[in-house]
């Protein structure tokens, strides 16, 4: 099988490629990223290319390699909302994804897997417990800067059903992916010594280990039919307990005033994205029944508490 992984410079993409090749030594993987790929360890069966997704030679890759499956893990992180980054996010995450989907369709790819996020649902006080995939995507209502995250997910959903007879599309909405190799807002938040530790709220979280997430990405090629899937284990944990498990004392702080104190916090070198403050107040737990139906009940290797204890290794 010939696989294309977009976003190869990311920690999750590298673990996925390694896992995929160790389980299927005859497969070939091409890893593409617009960022530098110098830190990607060479692997037999893995070819890497650094290029922008908007360039003509990106289109040529699709023509010349005839990929069977494409894993799109190249969405730009939504942790920064500076005007410049936001424009780039919209260009890469929305326009870039649209281009990737079109290329997959035109070049006869049979399966495309897109990594979205559970942040599309938003952390709101009226969230039901365990949001299913049908729940409305409300993240950008309060935080317009997250519109690229929601738009990308919705665009993939529309593409999925419009072209369901031509190719199989799988959209994954994982909970917080944490681990030693992945660099995301939650992993950074949990491990920073000055993590804001809410004293006025104690929401619940789900976490998945980066290795388990990579395993699900591999399994999704053969085991998941067209559809959108929440990705989380069945366990959940309160934020304060999670910080205790990671060994982070954090800075006890009333989150209800954190937004107004943002400038003071920045002076203290504590930078928490505004949208994340909502997650430190209200739970956003996702339902995993859809995923379990296809992967079975025991689809994770690491229990939630093990996952958090392993972050200490960072």
């Amino acid at each position: 099988m010939n696989i294309l992984i977009i976003g190869m410079a990311g920690g999750l993409a590298q673990i996925t490629a390694r896992l995929m090749l160790s389980e299927n030594p005859t497969w070939t993987i091409m890893g593409v990223d617009s960022r530098s790929l110098d830190k990607v360890s060479p692997l037999p069966g893995l070819t890497t290319l650094s290029m922008k997704y908007s360039r003509g030679n990106f289109e040529n890759i699709f023509r010349s390699h005839k990929f069977d499956a494409v894993l799109h893990l190249g969405r730009i992180s939504h942790s920064s909302s500076d005007a410049e980054v936001l424009a780039k996010r919209l260009e890469i995450s929305v326009m870039g994804t649209n281009r990737i989907l079109e290329l997959c369709l035109r070049s006869g790819v049979s399966k495309v897997i897109i990594l979205s996020t559970f942040h599309v649902y938003g952390a709101l006080p009226d969230n039901s417990i365990f949001l299913t995939e049908d729940a409305p995507l409300k993240a950008s209502i309060k935080h317009p800067e997250l519109r690229d995250v929601v738009e990308m997910d919705q665009m993939c959903g529309q593409f999925m059903w419009k072209h369901q007879n031509e190719l199989s599309t799988v959209v994954l909405r994982p909970c917080n992916i944490v681990g030693t190799q992945i660099e995301n807002t939650m992993s950074r938040y949990l491990t920073t010594p000055m993590a804001l530790r809410p004293i006025d709220y104690n929401p619940f979280f789900q976490f998945i280990h980066e290795f388990d997430m990579a395993q699900i990405l591999c399994s999704s090629i053969s085991k998941l039919p067209t559809g959108t899937y929440n990705v989380a284990g069945s366990e959940f944990i309160s934020l304060r307990e999670a910080l205790d498990l990671v060994g982070s004392k954090g800075l006890p702080f009333p989150i209800s005033i954190a937004k107004g104190m943002n400038n003071v916090l920045k002076l203290m070198n504590i930078q928490v994205p505004e949208y994340l403050l909502d997650y430190l107040k209200f739970s956003c737990l996702i339902d995993n029944r859809n995923l379990r139906q296809h992967l079975g009940d025991e689809f994770l290797r690491f229990k939630l508490r093990e996952t958090l204890e392993l972050i200490r290794l960072r």
Partner: protein
């Protein structure tokens, strides 16, 4: 003597209640062993809170519970009239089901979104068993054999002027659809006495709307008065098997009216047999005056 010791002697938990609390929480610890609650329900905190506020239940509001024999060891959708300006009735019903009803249980009270988003208070409410009033949340809890406390009058039930006291507001239908979906029996409750905690009340609805508050009562007293509370538990109402939870509003409304009617009847009977409100103040005052006269 330390001030806390003196306070405890006057306002502490009686030895009988202390033994009762221990017994109740032993039962609950067995029930909740291994259960993880996604809202943060905390049994230890519930026990501490009960110990702190039980004297209010016993000596301040002098709560009486009637109809305990109607409660069986099954999950219920406990439906009550809503009275008083702050939801103290929810707290008292929950305590009644812990301490005066067998088998003891923690009622999971459905709260408004407004409550859920309050700092500190929202977290405390969640830890003591409250949940956001939402169909998916109720379904989850009923599947886990929990009983839920619902006030189908919503905020309209507690935000009443003095002239509207004990006028039950029309019930919303959501609770009945939940009961149908899970085939859960409805346990009707009538609370008598809570309206008089704040006897003179006027609601500034326009200002409440302006401030995005669910209600804004202006009351003569800021602390609730010691109005004696009676909690009447009615016979369970079994929901029909042949009615779908997605049935049209008119079919559901008929059933909801039945529940509402039963609670209104229980309320009328309860009001006839209630203890007079000012007795709680008058009796000790008359004793004091008589004593002064004799001297």
């Amino acid at each position: 003597m330390h001030l806390s010791q003196a306070f405890s002697n006057v306002w502490g938990v009686s030895p009988e209640d202390d033994a009762k609390i221990k017994e109740v929480f032993e039962v609950l610890r067995v029930k909740y062993a291994g259960y993880e609650d996604p809202w943060g329900f905390n049994l230890e905190l519930c026990e501490k809170t009960l110990r702190t506020i039980l004297p209010f239940y016993r000596r301040y509001f002098k709560v009486r519970v009637f109809g305990q024999e109607n409660v069986a060891d099954v999950p219920y959708l406990v439906v009550s009239n809503h009275t008083g300006q702050i939801p103290l009735d929810a707290m008292l019903i929950t305590m009644a089901f812990l301490i005066d009803v067998q088998p003891p249980r923690i009622l999971r009270a459905m709260v408004e979104r407004f409550m859920a988003q309050l700092p500190f208070l929202g977290d405390f409410a969640a830890q003591t068993g409250s949940i956001l009033g939402d169909r998916a949340n109720c379904q989850y809890l009923l599947e886990h054999k929990e009983s839920i406390l619902v006030f189908p009058e919503g905020v309209r039930g507690v935000s009443k002027n003095t002239t509207q006291f004990y006028k039950v507001q029309s019930f919303t239908q959501g609770f009945y659809r939940i009961a149908l979906q899970q085939h859960t029996p409805i346990l009707p409750i009538a609370v008598v006495g809570a309206e008089e905690m704040f006897p003179f009340t006027w609601h500034v609805k326009s200002l409440a709307k302006l401030l995005s508050l669910p209600a804004l009562p202006l009351t003569a007293n800021l602390f609730p008065l010691p109005s004696p509370i009676d909690i009447h538990i009615g016979k369970p109402i079994i929901v029909p098997d042949d009615l779908s939870s997605e049935a049209p509003d008119k079919d559901i409304k008929e059933q909801v009216m039945r529940v509402e009617g039963q609670i209104k009847k229980m309320l009328a009977v309860g009001l006839k047999h209630r203890r007079p409100f000012f007795d709680e103040i008058r009796k000790p005052l008359s004793k004091f005056i008589l004593k002064q006269d004799r001297e």
